[in-house]
């Protein structure tokens, strides 16, 4: 039974704009009047009317979205110089269709909605009096951030290029790296109002058809007015159960990482307006891999991998374990350390658990403030925060000195695996509570349940914990350690065939 939408005062259900499917009329003035009315005479709508061999035409554009030079040289000059033998709309359209190359991407539009969508993507639309269609001409010339090194995924070796906001540039960065006819970009439009372009990128013949179909079906379910970031899509692509802190969807802003994932049979989703691409499916072990691992020597890559796993567990468990041991199991600490901790706790008014929660809250507040503020001010906040936490809070007797070390270690180690920052932060607080209430039992039970929850997660029918559990020893060559490329390159991983995933399928999106 279809669920009835509840009406909530102050909120409305997402609705598509009205009148978008209205076909263009043969009367140019009527079309222009309708366009002006439908756009409520918006200031950025540019309509330039002129005649081509005495046939009235109009060029519809969106201010700031087109390249003025290309417009003048490639469109206006050829059109104004055009001499028609028979000056009527059909002849003009025929000339534009067959003889004139006004733009590389040139086609026809039939409805008002299409006119708006194209001009707002940087196209110009040529409307001809007497013709019930328009000609769209690619004239994009809006300004955008140039290709730069991704700030969130900095690598020592490999490419310095990161995705940027315009979709076509991101597309070209992938295409330049995989010059294969099997690489396919499949376009979808998302958002009833924003009409954001997105591309599903995959290797035909390698990707699982079931995975691809599932993603397409899930994208069709999106009923949002605006799709401004890939984060908007994520909940629609994830399974709803079980509820988890972790996700089976990865994010990357590196084209080389995206290409590596595509070659393993994954689907990458590029969205216009964001440099963050989604990778589906994304196994848990991939959070601990970086492009550097494949460029560095294997023994060092293994060392880094171990460091990352160690940091991940430390950042989650260290504060909770400190609280648990300090509160319930002080006998586990070496005697000298125990004396120091006891001495540092003497002047503080709070329990160890309260102290740990307070100091971690302070830290998160300062991190968040430093992140959102302008960079120079952010630095100042960080310095002030460091002083407050490190010195003043201890001197004021609010917290003990060893806890400052604990928070510093956990804070730094959280950034070793940046893609897991969100779950790590929340879990850290939960483990502090578990350790404070139940000691090591709380930590153990909580950790068991978190891991159990992680083990229950599947993405595209594959368990996210594969190939570690369910185990396939051969697959550990790329997860637990990194084999040399001489061996690694002999067999490419197929993500839909990790242990625990359903059996082999016929490959190819078209099959």
């Amino acid at each position: 039974m279809k669920q009835k939408e509840r009406t909530v005062p102050g909120y409305r259900a997402p609705q598509p704009p009205e009148g978008e499917n209205i076909p263009l009329s043969k009367h140019l003035q009527r079309n222009l009047e309708y366009l002006r009315a439908a756009s409520h005479n918006t200031a950025d709508l540019v309509i330039r009317e002129f005649e081509v061999s005495s046939v009235p035409v109009a060029l519809v554009l969106c201010e700031g979205m087109f390249n003025l030079v290309a417009l003048g040289q490639n469109v206006l000059a050829p059109l104004t110089e055009l001499k028609l033998k028979r000056p009527d709309p059909e002849e003009l359209l025929e000339q534009v269709r067959r003889s004139l190359v006004l733009a590389v991407d040139q086609g026809e539009v039939a409805t008002v909605g299409e006119v708006f969508r194209f001009i707002m993507s940087g196209f110009g639309v040529l409307l001809v009096d007497g013709a019930d269609c328009g000609i769209r001409l690619a004239l994009q010339g809006f300004s955008f951030r140039s290709v730069s090194e991704p700030s969130g995924e900095v690598n020592l070796r490999g490419s310095r290029e990161g995705f940027t906001e315009p979709l076509r540039i991101n597309m070209s960065m992938i295409r330049r790296r995989i010059k294969s006819s099997a690489l396919r970009f499949e376009m979808v439009t998302l958002g009833t109002q924003s009409k954001t372009d997105a591309f599903l990128v995959y290797l035909n013949g390698v990707v699982s058809p079931r995975l691809l179909e599932e993603i397409k079906q899930n994208l069709k379910k999106i009923k949002l007015e605006q799709v401004l970031d890939t984060g908007y899509l994520q909940p629609f692509l994830e399974k709803r159960r079980p509820l988890s802190f972790f996700s089976g969807i990865g994010i990357t802003e590196r084209p080389d990482t995206a290409c590596a994932k595509i070659s393993e049979g994954r689907v990458v989703i590029l969205l216009d307006g964001t440099p963050m691409a989604l990778v589906l499916p994304y196994l848990f072990s991939e959070h601990f891999q970086s492009f550097d691992d494949y460029a560095l020597r294997p023994y060092y890559a293994l060392f880094i991998l171990c460091l990352k796993y160690f940091s991940f567990f430390m950042t989650i468990l260290l504060p909770g374990s400190y609280v648990a041991i300090g509160t319930f199991h002080p006998q586990l600490l070496p005697r000298e350390l125990l004396y120091n901790i006891t001495a540092s706790m003497q002047p503080t008014p709070f329990s160890l658990m309260t102290e740990a929660i307070l100091i971690h809250l302070f830290y998160e507040v300062m991190r968040e403030a430093g992140l959102r503020l302008p960079r120079p001010v952010g630095h100042a906040v960080s310095i002030a925060g460091g002083l407050v936490i490190g010195d003043v809070a201890v001197k004021a007797g609010l917290i003990g000195t060893p806890l400052v070390l604990v928070v510093a270690l956990t804070a730094i180690s959280a950034f070793v695996v940046p893609t897991l920052y969100e779950p790590v932060t929340v879990l850290r607080f939960l483990f502090i509570l578990a350790g404070g209430w139940w000691g090591l039992f709380g930590i153990g039970l909580g950790f068991a349940l978190v891991l159990c929850n992680l083990c229950a997660l599947t993405v595209a029918h594959a368990p996210v914990t594969a190939p570690g559990s369910p185990l396939r020893l051969f697959s550990l060559r790329d997860m637990l350690y990194r084999q040399s490329w001489t061996k690694l390159g002999r067999r490419m991983m197929e993500v839909d065939r990790v242990p625990g995933a359903p059996g082999p399928q016929t490959k190819g999106a078209d099959s």
Partner: protein
């Protein structure tokens, strides 16, 4: 994710891990009752016990092969509904006993040995809720967790061996025949009774993708290996003290901690132990819920909730029963009885009326 009762959810390796980890939990929670036998006897009887365990599986294997079935409970229902219900009830009762024993023993250990302040009831309830959540997540989730826990236990066992090596004293080994044949028989019986995992294996067969029997046999070899190793260590390091102490493996870890380069192995052992309790408790609770499903055909929530409530009720009753509850002949014996009885009932009961769906 909810349990899909009739699906093939795990592979043979995961079955092995579940069974081995369950058995390791029983070994860790060893508590010398009045029927306890000397450590040398426990060590000596392990190989006969292995033979006995494998022999106990034979009726189930024969019945499944003979009737070309993959589930004993399914076969019992095929024969007639009454046998089916009776077998499911038997399975449910033994699983509830095992799950309740897992939770109470763990709570007893924590409240008696580790903590002094938190109440046993609070610990028990927290553990029960955790296990219930693991069951709600499904068999796959906690069987996948088993891989990491097994690795951790393996590493811990290796560290225990290294830590204990300098303190091994073979003078603590005595002839198992010192007390005659009676302790040997008693030790064999007790060690076999501790192995409720045989019953779990039989009930888990239909959920395993392939080679369930082979992996169960392998599991028996693995847990026998662990039992031999840890029994040898506790006996030779702790000597007669091991026979008097509850939780000898924990005592072993604790005894060498201060002198060891590994630091406090007891704390790590405690953490792994909690994982073992969650996995074992969840395995039996899941099997119990499956039996409730066969009996009632109701929703996952109902099946898991009912089994959870029954387990909690048995846990509540365990305190009045007292030391009798710790006897493996009670909780382990019930499971072994089910292991033997279900195949016989399913195999030899008459076919009556229409086949039960």
């Amino acid at each position: 994710m909810n349990p899909h009762w009739n699906e093939k959810l795990i592979d043979g390796r995961q079955l092995l891990l579940l069974l081995v980890l369950g058995r390791l939990f029983s070994m860790m929670t060893y508590s010398p009752g009045k029927e306890a036998v000397p450590g040398s006897v426990t060590l000596a009887v392990q190989l006969p016990v292995l033979g006995l365990e494998l022999a106990l599986l034979l009726p189930a294997i024969w019945v499944l092969r003979h009737f070309d079935a993959d589930s004993l409970l399914g076969l019992a229902y095929r024969k007639n509904a009454l046998t089916g219900h009776f077998c499911a009830l038997l399975g449910l009762a033994s699983c509830i006993l095992q799950a309740a024993h897992t939770l109470t023993v763990q709570a007893d250990f924590l409240s008696g040995t580790i903590y002094r302040l938190p109440s046993r009831t609070g610990l028990l309830l927290a553990l029960w809720a955790g296990v219930l959540y693991a069951v709600w997540l499904g068999l796959e989730s906690f069987s996948r967790l088993g891989m990491g826990v097994f690795l951790a236990f393996g590493l811990l066992a290796a560290a225990l061996v290294v830590q204990s090596l300098p303190r091994i004293d073979l003078i603590n080994l005595h002839s198992p025949l010192e007390g005659g044949l009676s302790p040997i028989l008693q030790g064999t019986l007790l060690s076999t009774a501790r192995c409720g995992e045989l019953g779990a294996a039989v009930l888990l067969f239909p959920s395993v993708r392939r080679d369930a029997v082979r992996w169960t046999a392998r599991a028996a070899f693995v847990w026998t290996g662990f039992t031999l190793l840890l029994s040898f260590l506790t006996l030779t390091v702790l000597g007669n003290f091991a026979a008097l102490r509850s939780y000898p493996v924990y005592t072993l870890a604790l005894s060498g901690s201060e002198r060891s380069v590994f630091g406090r192995l007891d704390a790590l052992l405690l953490l792994v132990w909690i994982f073992l309790a969650v996995i074992r408790g969840a395995m039996y609770l899941w099997l119990g819920a499956k039996c409730v499903f066969l009996l009632s055909g109701r929703s996952n929530l109902f099946c898991i909730g009912t089994t959870g409530a029954l387990v909690l009720a048995v846990c509540a009753l365990s305190s009045p029963i007292g030391r009798g509850w710790e006897s493996p002949l009670l909780w382990g014996g019930a499971m072994l009885a089910a292991t033997a009885a279900i195949p016989l009932l399913a195999g030899f009961s008459p076919q009556i009326g229409r086949k039960h769906p």
